[in-house]
């Protein structure tokens, strides 16, 4: 671009240079005519009026003419015009030579010799004028051509200048478009990212800041990234809180369930025990009377019975150890022994290592009660119930075994499959025994228990439960 401007500038200079040259030529050309006429006048004045004191003026004018002719001769590069100027130079020379000769002859006092030379000089003056006007035609033609050329040249220059302007406009428009694209395209993409983020359910992506970007855009992106990071943090907080709330809700539900189940147990217990305090006091009083009266067995029986009832009452909603349960079972057995006498053989086999294990209260006794009531109560003799507790690999294994009537195989399968559902209670026909026990264990151990009802080989039923070994230490 700048090169073309320089070229245009240079060409313009060239045009002006040419014009200057033409003007100079015109000046020189005009001066030639003036000078030769002056020379002619001086010559006439000297020869005709014998005005010899004008001789110096003649020589001055002559030299002026010759110097002008010389300058004119070298004022052009044009061949035709150069030729004419050269001719004019030599014509001036020929003329002034002749005129000088005539004047010298005149001054030297040879007027008769001077006259023919003077006439010849006049003829040369005439010839020079002839050639001058012919040269004028050539010059005029040349100048005219030069002017036309310059006009064409100027037109081309203007056209070139105009095209450069047009090209510049086009280029600047393109640059402006490209620049605005460069500025707006990151904003557009930012807008897209932000609108996507607005409807997003997930974490919002941050934007990677590209290098060589615009500062304003970088600031905007940074701000957006901070904004996105905060939103993501809030989002995670909300998610955590929701999890926590759900856990709390689950906990509450569980607690409610436990409470409900216990309430059912309590209700059942209340139905069979009208007033526990009254009963305890009564039993205690009867035991004392029996002791005073020397009825040892009755005393023992009442002792067990009282203990059993108190356990039921006191530990009802408490976590107990297997040792507590063991004592309770022993008390219950003592009572049943009185009731059933020798008909019932009761074996209780608790490993010492199980005693510290924690579990909800009234777990084992209901199982035993169930075995007696549903298994062996109808036996006249040889009723057998066995309770076992042992620890194997951090788990407590409870087994209650009886040689009772047993359960049909089909029903057994069904019971096993339904064992942890709410229907279980119905299947055991109103007994608060097994289903209640299993449910409470399941809640207490968070479902971490195994339960199985099996048919005993020699008749009867075995209930196997294993639960995690849990004590006060964890």
């Amino acid at each position: 671009m700048s090169i073309s401007s320089i070229i245009i500038f240079g060409l313009n200079g060239f045009i002006f240079f040419k014009y200057d040259q033409i003007i100079d030529q015109y000046g020189l050309f005009n001066d030639y005519l003036v000078a030769i006429n002056e020379v002619g006048q001086e010559m006439e004045s000297i020869i005709r009026q014998e005005n010899f004191d004008r001789k110096n003026l003649f020589f001055f004018n002559r030299d002026k003419l010759l110097s002008n002719a010389r300058r004119l001769r070298s004022s052009t590069e044009d061949l035709n015009l150069g030729r004419r100027y050269t001719d004019l130079y030599f014509l001036a020379q020929s003329y002034t030579n002749e005129a000088t000769s005539a004047i010298r002859l005149m001054i030297d006092g040879y007027p008769s010799a001077a006259i023919p030379v003077y006439e010849q000089a006049r003829h040369l003056f005439y010839l020079t004028n002839q050639h001058y006007y012919r040269t004028y035609e050539t010059l005029a033609l040349n100048v005219n051509q030069g002017r036309q050329q310059a006009a064409r040249f100027r037109f081309q220059l203007n056209a070139a200048g105009l095209s450069i302007i047009v090209v510049l406009i086009v280029i600047s428009m393109y640059l402006a478009a490209a620049l605005s694209g460069w500025i707006t395209s990151p904003i557009k993409s930012l807008t897209t990212i932000v609108s996507n983020a607005a409807i997003s359910n997930h974490e919002i992506d941050t934007i990677v800041i590209e290098e060589h970007n615009i500062d304003e855009y970088d600031n905007l992106t940074t701000a957006y990234n901070i904004f996105a990071t905060r939103i993501n943090e809030y989002f995670l907080d909300m998610k955590r809180n929701a999890d926590l709330e759900r856990k709390l809700h689950d906990e509450e539900t569980r607690n409610l369930k436990i409470t409900n189940l216990l309430k059912v147990s309590e209700l059942k217990a209340l139905q069979s025990r009208i007033n526990p305090h009254f009963m305890f006091n009564s039993i205690n009083m009867i035991k004392n009377v029996a002791f005073i009266e020397g009825a040892g067995q009755a005393t023992e029986l009442l002792e067990s019975f009282g203990s059993f009832l108190r356990y039921n009452y006191d530990k009802f909603d408490k976590v107990v150890t297997i040792k507590d349960e063991y004592q309770n079972v022993v008390d219950y057995f003592a009572i049943q022994k009185i009731r059933m006498g020798d008909r019932l053989i009761f074996e209780i086999d608790f490993d010492q290592s199980t005693f510290a294990a924690l579990l909800p209260c009234l777990i084992i006794q209901p199982l035993v009660e169930n075995a007696i009531d549903h298994g062996v109560s109808s036996y006249i003799s040889d009723a057998f119930v066995r309770v076992e507790a042992k620890v194997v690999e951090k788990r407590v294994f409870l087994t209650v075994e009886d040689n009772g009537v047993g359960i049909e195989k089909k029903r057994l399968t069904r019971l096993n499959s339904l064992i942890l559902t709410d229907n279980l209670e119905n299947e055991f026909e109103g007994s608060i025994g097994i289903s209640n026990v299993i449910s409470r264990l399941s809640i207490f151990f968070n479902g971490d228990l195994h339960y199985k009802l099996e048919a005993r080989e020699r008749g009867g039923t075995i209930i196997r439960i294993d639960i995690p070994y849990k004590n006060d230490n964890g």
Binding site: L79, G82, R83, T86, F90, Q93, L124, L127, T128
Partner: protein, 281 residues
């Protein structure tokens, strides 16, 4: 700058323009600067004045053509005295101090024209002659040669010789006058370049144009067209371009210090009739 001035008898004339073309080519080749300037109409005073200007301009060489041989002798002398070689082309002034003449053998060319006339007319012709200028040597030499050629034929003679001043309109006027004054004339000879054109234009208007025998010189377009359509029987053609070239070469020889070996450098002529007119260009 070696300056050559070529001053033809008439500036804007096809013959001299063709000569100028050949000279310009040669000058360009040799690095000479050529100035071509001549009178607007044939005007020997003006032509001589232009030669004087060239002499006063101290040019290096002059080429011109002597229309009227005697009138150019003074200016030719002046030129040579001023140390400026001067070459005459086309028309010579043998008695002058001119450096060299370059041109055709005009007597021979006239003879050829006479032979064409004999062919055309079958040896019976009363001839009107229109020439450019009655005192131009070259033209008179042609007439001389022509007269020689027909002299053997008793039924052929020149009835009259008229002067056109190298102008085809004048040539036409002279033709009309001849036909009025000499109604027996049935043949014409145009001696200088434009004469046959003027003659042919007048004859073409006549109903019996085909009964005329027309012979001319040189090859202006109208002459060539007239040969093609049978109006003009034939023409003697010079080679003006060659005149230009040879005259420039002669000057170059003088400039380089050598003498020009001959005082007459002959250029060729050609006969153009219907038979060979197609080969002309």
């Amino acid at each position: 700058m070696t300056r050559i001035s070529f001053i033809p008898p008439i500036e804007n004339h096809p013959f001299w323009l063709a000569a100028r073309e050949g000279m310009a080519k040669e000058c360009h080749r040799l690095g000479f600067n050529l100035d071509y300037v001549g009178p607007d109409i044939v005007n020997q005073d003006r032509q001589i004045e232009l030669i004087e200007i060239a002499i006063a301009s101290q040019v290096d060489g002059i080429v011109t053509s002597a229309v009227d041989p005697g009138r150019f002798d003074a200016v030719i002398r002046s030129s040579v005295r001023n140390g400026i070689p001067i070459v005459l082309i086309g028309s010579d002034s043998p008695g002058s101090l001119r450096t060299v003449f370059v041109g055709i053998d005009n007597v021979d060319a006239g003879r050829k024209a006479g032979n064409l006339m004999i062919e055309s007319s079958g040896g019976k012709a009363l001839i009107g002659v229109v020439t450019g200028y009655s005192r131009q040597l070259s033209l008179n030499q042609r007439i001389q040669g022509f007269t020689e050629a027909i002299s053997e034929y008793p039924e052929m003679r020149i009835v009259t010789v008229e002067e056109s001043g190298f102008d085809q309109i004048n040539a036409g006027k002279r033709t009309k006058e001849i036909l009025l004054e000499h109604p027996e004339v049935n043949a014409f000879l145009g001696v200088s370049t434009n004469d046959i054109e003027g003659i042919a234009r007048i004859i073409s208007e006549k109903s019996n144009s085909s009964s005329f025998s027309l012979i001319g010189f040189d090859d202006v377009d109208f002459t060539i067209e007239s040969i093609k359509n049978g109006l003009v029987y034939g023409t003697i053609v010079q080679t003006p371009g060659q005149l230009g070239i040879l005259s420039t070469e002669a000057l170059a020889a003088v400039f380089s210090g050598g003498e020009v070996p001959e005082s007459f450098i002959e250029t060729e002529t050609r006969l153009i009739t219907l038979e060979n007119v197609k080969d002309l260009y």
